[in-house]
């Protein structure tokens, strides 16, 4: 047993940290080569529009660690955007103040949004329906119900306050003149430099993601999640209530999808059935890039966020640079496959490094 030669150690390093290295390299490249990328604005664009896949990615992380998959998150997100919009509009129209309508609407939607997840959980855990099918059915059902609720036309006429929260920032600065919090300085005029720092929705998302990242990493609940993904039998025999745990996992997934839907409603002041449809695959891809395995037992919220950032930086960077749309599809496909190939080639090295 000799100590590993230098090139082997380098390989271990690359294998373990390739995603982080990729993100750094990507960021460096784009900041040199695409104008306006490495600016306050460019970075905030990445995070602001990333919220959807950050949240859905976190949802998928929990599910994928247990060896499942949740295809319904995109349409649960749309469902939540519609339900919240409907409730808020109804309340606002009946004379409730915008602030109260929004608060009540958000809380109610958070509760209603758990239902599809609970059903998913029952189907998967109690009736042993494969997660792919259970959640795919839920995708179809939530899609149908959402469209019925709005009859195909996006819900609108939300109070202006929703817009102000969804597109608002924590801090506004007019250099040398005014600093204000939460509200845009009234003194600003068109064409003047106005620095907007830290979007509200990003803060909200990261608080949620942080809490659940902590739960996964540090608590008994998290430990059991990994155990179920690693070996269900072992988990059952160790006395873990696997059925209840799995049900909870799908409820958590639904909870994150609902949060994403509410953020959508605040950001775009509409409720739309397919609001999250386009983010589903991205979020699964991000989880996989982040080191999770679709066979279960592996993955972290941190890794997922890293994966999301790789995708978001790539998308935004290519967009700011103006690479053609068609080339982008190809690039994303290649990078995805490559990401998994690396994982396949370094497994033993990565584990030794643990």
């Amino acid at each position: 047993m000799q100590s590993l030669p230098l090139n082997k150690r380098m390989l271990i390093f690359v294998g373990k940290y390739w995603a982080l290295m990729f993100l750094i390299l990507e960021t460096i490249l784009f900041s040199f080569l695409s104008h306006g990328f490495l600016t306050l604005r460019g970075i905030q664009i990445i995070f602001f529009f990333g919220t959807a896949i950050f949240l859905l990615g976190t949802a998928e992380t929990f599910v994928i660690i247990t060896g499942g998959i949740d295809l319904s998150v995109g349409f649960i997100m749309g469902f939540a955007s519609i339900v919240s919009a409907k409730i808020i509009v109804a309340l606002a129209n009946s004379g409730v103040s915008p602030a109260w309508s929004i608060s009540i609407g958000v809380v109610l939607t958070m509760l209603i949004g758990l239902i599809p997840g609970y059903i998913n959980g029952l189907l998967v855990a109690r009736l042993r329906v494969p997660p792919f099918i259970a959640t795919f059915s839920m995708l179809a059902v939530t899609h149908g119900v959402s469209e019925l609720l709005i009859q195909g036309v996006p819900a609108k006429n939300l109070p202006y306050l929703a817009n102000a929260i969804g597109n608002g920032y924590f801090i506004y600065i007019i250099p040398g003149k005014v600093v204000s919090f939460f509200n845009k300085p009234t003194a600003s005029f068109r064409g003047e430099t106005l620095l907007e720092i830290i979007p509200n929705v990003v803060v909200f998302s990261f608080i949620l993601i942080g809490i659940f990242g902590f739960i996964l990493k540090r608590t008994k609940f998290g430990q059991h999640t990994y155990a179920i993904g690693g070996n269900v039998d072992a988990a059952i025999r160790a006395g873990i209530n696997v059925k209840r745990h799995l049900t909870l996992i799908y409820v958590i997934s639904s909870f994150f999808a609902t949060s994403a839907g509410i953020i959508y409603m605040l950001k775009y002041v509409t409720g739309k059935a397919d609001a999250g449809a386009g983010f589903l695959l991205d979020s699964i891809v991000a989880v996989v890039i982040g080191g999770a395995s679709l066979y279960g037992g592996k993955g972290t919220v941190g890794g997922t966020i890293l994966g999301c950032l790789i995708l978001a930086v790539l998308e935004t960077g290519l967009r700011i640079m103006g690479v053609s749309t068609f080339d982008k599809y190809i690039a994303v496909g290649v990078i995805l496959i490559f990401a998994v190939l690396i994982d396949q080639f370094f497994p033993e090295l990565i584990h030794k490094g643990d």
Binding site: L25, H35, I45, N163, R319, M321, G322, T325, I342
Partner: protein
């Protein structure tokens, strides 16, 4: 060995992503400072907007305006379009954005923000709010809306189709998606148009969500449920293509008249072959060109831009389809 190979591949991949970036970056360095730069943000990847891009590029070349075309959104909706809009705007140095908003209200805030930064906005094809920017409102900030009068178009299609059918019989509408304002205008106009003829009736409206195969299935089902349908209106290219293919498949070519909106090559060929009877051609290239032209005039001459510019449309029929004059209205890149 394999692992080293993969590291090499990794580096190559990064280089492959990087090189076009270099090229693009350098191009931008060369650009002069005093030229105008307009950006175009389409609504969805489809031939209508590709044709509009062509009109924009031709006019911009003529006037010496720089054009940035954003990524084409892969589906219809603010969640896809707004990130593209913001990323395009982040390139900086943009004087004017020509955009087809994918939502009448969701796009107000992001566009207003860009407007506040000093960028002018022209909405093309679709609009914000109710499309009337002349009265004071939170969405009255764009310079102009340039697009087809969809209701009028729908009405005209109804008149033409009614005439072909001898002002009697049942007609059916296949359309895309109830959340696209322009397309819903066409349906509304068409229904109003048909309502003027007492012996005519609209027997159904189906939404195909921009999937041609679905349009075909729906039309066949409609023909089955109402065997006496004599006319069909397809409100955009996917609807119209699906509808006429359904009629071809049902073997009813000629017995069922088809009016279609959007002049793709396929629909024009179908018109020539007798499978389609009427094609309304919007003028996407002209819409694009007008947007560039008005923007240019606004910046260079201080011209006052009309809040609404309606470029009109043309009808292709079997009689005029081969006219050399008409060929420019066919959608091409």
């Amino acid at each position: 060995m394999k692992k080293i190979f993969f590291v090499v591949v990794a580096l190559l991949l990064i280089a492959a992503v990087g090189l076009p970036v270099f090229a693009a970056g350098q191009k931008e360095e060369e650009k002069g400072k005093k030229e105008l730069t307009f950006a175009f943000v389409p609504g969805i990847a489809d031939p209508f907007y590709y044709t509009m891009e062509r009109g924009i590029r031709e006019k911009a070349k003529e006037l010496g305006v720089n054009i940035i075309v954003s990524e084409y959104p892969k589906s219809w909706g603010p969640e896809v379009q707004v990130p593209i809009l913001e990323a395009t705007a982040a390139r900086g140095n943009i004087d004017l954005i020509m955009i087809a908003p994918t939502s009448v209200d969701a796009l107000i805030a992001p566009l207003k923000k860009l407007y506040d930064q000093g960028i002018e906005i022209i909405t093309v094809d679709t609009y914000l709010g109710d499309g009337d920017y002349s009265k004071p409102s939170e969405y009255s900030f764009p310079l102009a809306y340039i697009g087809t009068d969809n209701e009028l178009g729908g009405k005209k299609v109804a008149e033409h189709l009614a005439k072909m059918l001898g002002y009697k019989g049942k007609v059916y509408i296949n359309t895309t998606n109830p959340d696209v304002s322009s397309v819903m205008g066409r349906v509304k106009g068409f229904k109003e148009g048909i309502a003027e003829f007492p012996n005519m009736e609209v027997v159904g409206v189906d939404y195909n969500l921009d999937v041609q195969q679905k349009a075909q299935e729906q039309t066949l089902a409609a023909l089955q449920a109402h065997p006496d349908i004599v006319g069909i209106f397809g409100t955009n290219l996917y609807s119209a293509q699906g509808a006429y293919q359904a009629v071809v498949q049902a073997g009813l070519t000629g017995a069922v008249k088809i009016a279609s909106w959007d002049a793709t090559e396929d629909l024009i060929n179908a018109l020539k072959e007798g499978k389609v009877d009427l094609v309304l051609a919007q003028k996407p290239a002209e819409i694009g060109a007008l947007a560039v032209e008005w923007g240019y005039k606004y910046f260079k001459e201080g011209a006052k831009v009309p809040k609404k510019v309606i470029p009109g449309f043309e009808f292709f029929t079997r009689e005029n389809v081969n006219d050399p004059e008409m060929q420019k209205y066919i959608y091409r890149k």
